[in-house]
């Protein structure tokens, strides 16, 4: 508790204290008495700040979000602009720094065939990739929490039926289903991709929430609430849910990373978002054709953006897990 230590005047003998000094000591004592205890979230924040990797990770993630929001506004050219159309090179040109010219254009080279600027694609791709992952996670967390909460709270036959349905959903190979669904339910549109990930990805979270509810519903405070006549819905959402929030937050964080990779994968295979709206995945989609011509910069930068972001989110999630656990003394 280094920051909570109160200043002491123990160095000087008491007899030499002036009235002013005494007054100052009184003040610190008053301050000490008024100090409020930290609530659960403040404690968690303090633990989180001490987790160095988690801070770095959130920095990376927030940095990516900032880049996605701000940088496309200032780009002097759009996704379809060819930076220097006088030199037609079918396989695309390498980054400017690799050829030693250091021009502000072609920071990350350009793609083959259509010769689109990779930097521009990565930056614009960040927008859609992050938006899809956050929205889809929100949807799946909402569904999963309600589904798992209801199953865990009521238990019995309802619980059995609901969890068998989750079993079945989790038994289907999710990526196969997503491939088929996005092929058939109108692929190309980012909204439908978001919905597909959101509506199919809640199985894991609902299991987690259910297990939380199973233990928490036996607690005395739930009995007390029920004895006072609180409705079931209120017990679920106001009494039990806040107590099972931390694992949900952690798993939601990690699920964002999962959706980023999943979306990139689906779009890479051509079943996800259409190439007219760049995401990190679909930017990569034709790069394999040009790999044999040494066109490394095209796949490298969008993929590196994915790795960096996912790494950041995973660090953040681990930090949150430690910080939100009231037993951890970090």
């Amino acid at each position: 508790m280094a920051d909570g230590q109160r200043p002491r005047a123990s160095g000087s003998p008491v007899s030499s204290l002036s009235p002013a000094d005494l007054e100052a000591i009184e003040d610190t004592l008053d301050y000490e008495v008024q100090l409020e205890s930290l609530n659960q979230w403040q404690l968690a924040w303090r633990r989180f700040k001490k987790h160095r990797l988690a801070v770095v990770g959130s920095g990376i993630f927030l940095g990516m979000v900032a880049v996605a929001v701000i940088v496309p506004i200032f780009l002097p050219y759009s996704a379809t602009t060819i930076p220097q159309p006088d030199k037609i090179v079918y396989a695309g040109r390498p980054p400017s720094w690799a050829s030693g010219s250091w021009s502000p254009f072609l920071l990350m080279g350009e793609t083959g065939r259509l010769q689109r600027d990779v930097f521009e694609l990565v930056v614009n791709g960040a927008r859609l990739s992050l938006l899809i992952s956050v929205l889809a996670t929100t949807i799946s967390v909402l569904i999963g929490t309600i589904w798992g909460g209801v199953a865990g709270y009521f238990g019995g036959f309802l619980d059995t039926v609901m969890m068998r349905i989750v079993d079945a959903i989790l038994s289907l190979p999710l990526l196969f289903v997503i491939l088929v669904a996005s092929k058939f339910l109108g692929s190309g549109n980012w909204v439908s991709v978001t919905l597909i990930f959101g509506l199919l990805g809640w199985g894991g979270i609902s299991r987690l929430v259910r297990s939380q509810f199973l233990t928490l519903r036996e607690e005395a405070f739930v009995d007390a609430a029920r004895a006072v006549g609180v409705s079931d819905a209120r017990i679920i959402f106001r009494h039990i849910l806040p107590n099972s929030l931390s694992p949900i937050i952690v798993s939601a964080t990690l699920s964002i990373a999962g959706v980023i990779v999943g979306e990139a994968f689906v779009s890479y295979l051509g079943f996800g978002v259409d190439v007219s709206q760049p995401t990190w995945g679909n930017v990569l989609s034709n790069s394999l054709e040009f790999v044999t011509q040494g066109n490394w910069w095209w796949p490298f930068f969008p993929g590196a953006a994915i790795v960096l972001t996912v790494l950041g989110i995973n660090f953040m999630g681990d930090g949150l897990r430690d910080a939100l656990d009231p037993r951890s003394r970090l």
Binding site: P173, V177, V180, K183, L284, T292, W296, I306, V307, L308
Partner: protein
């Protein structure tokens, strides 16, 4: 114990039923469909399409179609007699004791729309390449993950442990397709050490799985094996790198858990050698969760890795799924779905039962 197993098996039946329902539903709402291939053909008349629909039962109401697909209904009969097979017994029964021979319950997955062959044959010829690729990768990553996880747990917070932690963070963040593309860029197109994809060198070796291939493999086993090996290196490496991260963390956690137990402290206090403590006392008990985890990885061996197989043009199940999706080949897709889901349910069942057998603390009343 046997009661527990029976209950688990019975509990899996509604799940399987629901899965079959969902698979049927997903592919039902999909566009395209069996007669889509006639849409572009000007020589086919509406009457012919109608005859085609009647021939394949597409004019029937949906429950009947589902029931026939499942194998509980006999397509040759109408009315209430649909549940009776040609031999006069309920159609659900296996055909050798008098049931029908249609539907997935009797192993009839229909015909591929793309090339007209039975789905079982189309899928069957893709299973061996997938097992070769996924199996090789699985054995390697399991061995490495076991050794690395154990060593990291024994030397906790040591140099190796920290390196493994950082490595597995990166491994978990690496998208398979990106790793594959970068490996191809570096080792196939840049350094030219390995072939850029496929399963055999078409110039030197006959098509894999054909009789000529096996004859060739019999005459020059070393050439065939070496050729297969060079094609395996990059995809196997890709799979190992992305899979090892999670598994080694799992082994490490399981080992740390059992190293912290009282009986380990007791063994040490009695003066048992450290090697014996780790191998006999800690590792044996850490195996419990590890075995369960391994059981859950079994479906992967057969359904394969979609991305890795696509990028390295490996002729396996994963790539078949992509091809079938692209060409609206419903029967093949349904077959793959079904096999994958069956294996997942089966693996879950096996893991649960194994866990109950090896861990006497689990109550299975």
């Amino acid at each position: 114990m046997s009661r527990y197993i029976v209950r688990r098996v019975i509990g899996a039946i509604p799940v399987l039923f629901f899965i079959s329902f969902m698979i049927y539903g997903i592919l039902l709402i999909a566009p395209g469909g069996p007669e889509a291939r006639f849409a572009q053909n000007p020589k086919i008349t509406a009457a012919q399409i109608e005859a085609f629909r009647k021939r394949w039962g597409l004019d029937q109401p949906l429950p009947v179609q589902y029931c026939r697909w499942l194998g509980a209904c006999n397509p040759d009969h109408t009315g209430l007699a649909v549940f009776i097979s040609d031999q006069g017994l309920p159609n659900v029964l296996p055909s050798f004791i008098g049931g029908g021979d249609n539907g997935i319950l009797h192993g009839d997955l229909g015909f591929s729309i793309r090339d007209g062959r039975p789905v079982t044959i189309v899928i069957g010829e893709r299973i061996i390449p997938t097992v070769i690729l996924a199996g090789t990768a699985w054995v390697i990553w399991l061995t490495v993950a076991l050794l690395a996880g154990m060593y990291a747990a024994v030397r906790r917070y040591g140099l190796f442990d920290s390196a493994l932690t950082i490595g597995s963070y990166i491994g978990l963040a690496l998208p398979t397709f990106w790793l594959g593309i970068m490996l191809l860029t570096i080792f196939a197109s840049g350094l030219k050490w390995f072939p850029a994809g496929g399963m055999w060198s078409a110039r030197d070796v006959p098509i894999f799985g054909s009789p000529e291939y096996w004859a060739f493999a019999g005459q020059q086993p070393l050439t065939a094996l070496f050729d297969l090996g060079t094609h395996l290196v990059l995809p196997v490496f890709t799979l190992v790198v992305v899979s090892i991260a999670g598994d080694s963390r799992f082994v490490r956690a399981a080992m740390l858990d059992s190293l912290g137990q009282d009986y380990v402290r007791t063994a040490r206090a009695k003066g048992v050698s450290e090697r014996r403590v780790v191998m006999k006392h800690a590792f044996r008990n850490a195996l419990l969760p590890i075995v369960t985890n391994i059981g859950l990885e079994i479906p992967f061996l057969f359904t394969g890795a979609i991305v890795t197989e696509t990028i390295f043009s490996w002729p396996g199940m994963g790539r078949l799924a992509i091809e079938a999706t692209n060409s609206f080949d419903y029967p093949v897709l349904m077959g793959i779905f079904l096999i994958a889901a069956l294996l997942t349910v089966f693996a879950n069942l096996v893991a649960d039962i194994l866990y109950a057998i090896v861990d006497p603390r689990i109550s299975y009343g």
